[in-house]
C-alpha cells in the first residue's frame, strides 16, 4: 500500500506504479539498448545472426518440404514466399516469450536494490526481439521481391498493423509468463515444448485449406492463424480489405495485454523476495 503525501507530492513504491513520463521513457530506451547490445555482444556475427538464423531455418524447411515431402497445394505460390511471410512473426512471438520469461532474473540485482517499474524489463525485452525480427522481415520481403516473387509492397499497409496487434498480444502473454517464472521456475521449461507443438498446429508450413475439414475450424480458431492468414492476404494476394475477424483479433490482443499486465502488477511487488 502506498499513500499520497498531504501536499500531493509523488508516490513511493515505484515498483508497482504505472509507467509515465520522460524518466520512464529514458529508462525504457536504456534497457532496450542494453537488451540489443548484450544479446549479441558476445557473438562473432553480432546482429547479423538475428537475420541469418531464421534464413537458415527457412532453407531447411524448403529442403524438407519441397524435396523430401514434395508438398504441393500452396495455391500456386512459391513455398519459400508462403512460409517466409508467416515464419518471421512466429519466431518473433516465440523468441519474445522465451526471452521474456527469463528476463526478470537478468535484473535480479537491480530489483533487490533499486526502485523502478519492473514492467520496463518486459517491455524492453519484447521490444528488442520485435525490432530485430521485424527488421529481418523487411529484409526477407525485399529479397523475395527482388528475386521475382510476387510480393505486394502495398500489402505492408495491412501487414504493419497486423504486426502491431501481434506485438500487443505477445506483450501481454510475456507479462504473464515473466511474472509466473519468478515464482515457479518450471514455466520456462514448459514453454519450449508448448511453443514447438503450437507451431505445427498453426498453418505456418501448410495452408489452412490442407487441414481436414473436421478439425479445420479448431485450427482456424487459433489467434495466430489470423496473424499468418492476414499477412498472406496482404502481402501475397494484395487484398487490403478489413474483415470482422480483424476487430476480434484486436480485442483478443488487448484482452491478453490487459490480463497479462494485471497478473504482472499483482505479482511484481513480491519479485524482490523471489528473484
Amino acid at each position: 500500500m502506498t499513500a499520497r503525501a498531504a501536499d500531493g507530492s509523488r508516490l513511493v513504491g515505484r515498483t508497482g506504479r504505472p509507467l509515465s513520463g520522460a524518466r520512464d521513457r529514458a529508462l525504457f530506451v536504456n534497457f532496450l539498448r542494453r537488451e540489443l547490445t548484450t544479446r549479441y555482444l558476445g557473438s562473432v556475427t553480432g546482429f547479423a545472426w538475428a537475420l541469418l538464423s531464421p534464413l537458415a531455418l527457412l532453407g531447411v524447411y524448403y529442403f524438407v518440404f519441397t524435396h523430401i515431402f514434395r508438398a504441393t497445394g500452396f495455391a500456386g505460390q512459391s513455398f519459400v514466399a508462403f512460409v517466409a511471410i508467416a515464419l518471421w512473426p512466429w519466431l518473433a512471438a516465440q523468441e519474445a516469450l522465451q526471452r521474456g520469461a527469463i528476463s526478470i532474473a537478468g535484473y535480479a540485482g537491480m530489483i533487490r536494490k533499486v526502485a523502478f517499474p519492473h514492467e520496463i524489463i518486459v517491455l524492453a525485452s519484447v521490444a528488442a526481439t520485435f525490432v530485430l525480427q521485424f527488421a529481418g522481415y523487411l529484409a526477407i520481403l525485399a529479397v523475395l521481391r527482388i528475386s521475382g516473387e510476387p510480393i505486394h509492397v502495398r500489402g505492408l499497409l495491412l501487414a504493419v498493423p497486423v504486426w502491431i496487434v501481434l506485438l500487443i498480444g505477445i506483450t501481454g502473454l510475456t507479462f504473464l509468463v515473466a511474472a509466473l517464472q519468478v515464482f515457479v521456475k518450471d514455466v520456462e521449461h514448459v514453454l519450449m515444448p508448448l511453443l514447438m507443438m503450437l507451431m505445427y498446429l498453426t498453418p505456418i508450413l501448410y495452408p489452412l485449406t490442407l487441414v481436414p475439414e473436421g478439425v479445420r475450424s479448431w485450427v482456424a480458431a487459433n489467434p495466430f492463424n489470423w496473424v499468418v492468414g492476414r499477412l498472406r492476404d496482404a502481402l501475397l494476394d494484395g487484398r487490403l480489405t478489413l474483415q470482422s475477424t480483424d476487430a476480434l483479433a484486436l480485442a483478443v490482443a488487448i484482452a491478453l495485454f490487459v490480463g497479462g499486465r494485471w497478473v504482472f502488477r499483482r505479482l511484481s511487488p513480491h519479485f524482490e523476495d523471489f528473484v
Partner: protein, 392 residues
Amino acid sequence: MTTSLLALDGIGKDYAKVETRGGRLRLVFDLLRGHGAAHVFRALDDVSFTMRRGESLGIIGENGAGKSTLLKVVAGVIQPTRGSVAVSGRVGALLELGSGFHPEYTGLANIDLAAALLGLAPSELGAKRDEIIAFADLGDHINDPLKQYSSGMVVRLGFAVATALSPDVLITDEVLAVGDESFQKRCIAWMERYLGGGGTLLLCSHSMYHIQKLCTHALWLKDGRVERYGPANDVSQAYLAYHEEKDARAHRPLGADRAAADGWYAIDTLTIDPPETIEQGGMLTVRGEVFSPDDRTPVVLVGIVRADGTPVYGVATDMEDAPPLQIGNGRYAFSLAFPDVALLPGRYKVRAHALDPEGVRLFDHVEQTLTVTGATRELGFVRLPHRWQTPA
C-alpha cells in the same frame, strides 16, 4: 517547519514462507486473489516515524532486526504489506553502491543508466554529468567498460552518481566513506556540506559514533518492531546498555555442575594475591582451579586486560609446558607468579580462560579486578626496560 519530509505510519512487511514447490503455486494464486501469503515471516511490524527537513535519523539494531527491510521500504524498493509511506521530496538511496550498474557498459553509459534508474530525466542529466565525472575522478577510465574497474572505482562512481542528484533524503546503508583515503575525505566533506545545507540522512549503522555524530534522532529496531525511538543520544545509549547486559549474561561463570552437564571446561575459582590492589613493581600471584568434564588436562590461559578491555598480556599453560596439576576428580589447579609487575598505575582485570586440552576451543572465563598504585608520570600501561644515554 511543519510539513514532514517523510512519514511512515504503521508499516509492516511480511515475507512469504514457502517450503515446497506446490507452496509456490499456491502463493501465486493467493497473491492473484489479492490475499496475503498463508505462511509469513514478519520482517517489520507497526513501524511509525516522521522526519522533518534537517532531522537525520539513524536506524540501529541487531542483525536480522529489519533495518535493511525498513530502508528498502522508504527507498521504494519494496512495498510494505501494511501501513503507508508518504514522501515529499526526492529520495536518494545508497543501498549498495553500483548495484544499478551494468558491467558491459562504460562508466559514462552507466552514469546515464543509473541516472535513469534514480528517476532523473535526460534533460536534467546534462549539467549533472560533468559534475559526476569530476567527483568520481576516474580520469580516462570513464570510457572503459565497468567490468575492468576495481571495486573501489565502482563505488566511487556509485557515490558520485547518488550524491549528484542532491536528494532531499539520502538513505545509506553503512556506506558513509568509500574508496581510498583521499576519496573518503571527499565523501566526508560532501556529507558535512550536505548536512550543513539542510540535507537529511536516513542512516543505518552499527557505529554508535556515527549515529550520535550525524543524526538528531535514532530508532532502535528489535525483531521488526520499534524498541525505542527518540533523540539519538538516548536511544544509542540504551542500545549500548542492552548489549553490555547481554554480554555480561553470556559470560557469567558456568559453575562445575552446569559445566559437567554440558561437557564443558570451566574455571571454578580464581584468586589473586595480593587481592585487588598492588604496588607497582610488586609480586602478583594468580591461582585457581579448573574443571575438566572428561578427566583430560585442560589448558588455562591467564591474561591481563585494561579496564576497557584492551589486552595487555596473556600466556597459556600449553605455551610453556606447565599443565595444571590434577588435585581430584576432574579438578585441576594452576598457579602463576609475576615477580615484578611492570604495569603502570591504573585499573586492570586479571582473566583466566578454560580451554579444551588441545588449546583450541575457549569455554569459560572468570575475571578479578586489579588496581595498580604508584606515583609516576610515565605514559601507557607497561613500563618497558629502558635507559637514557649520553648521545654519541
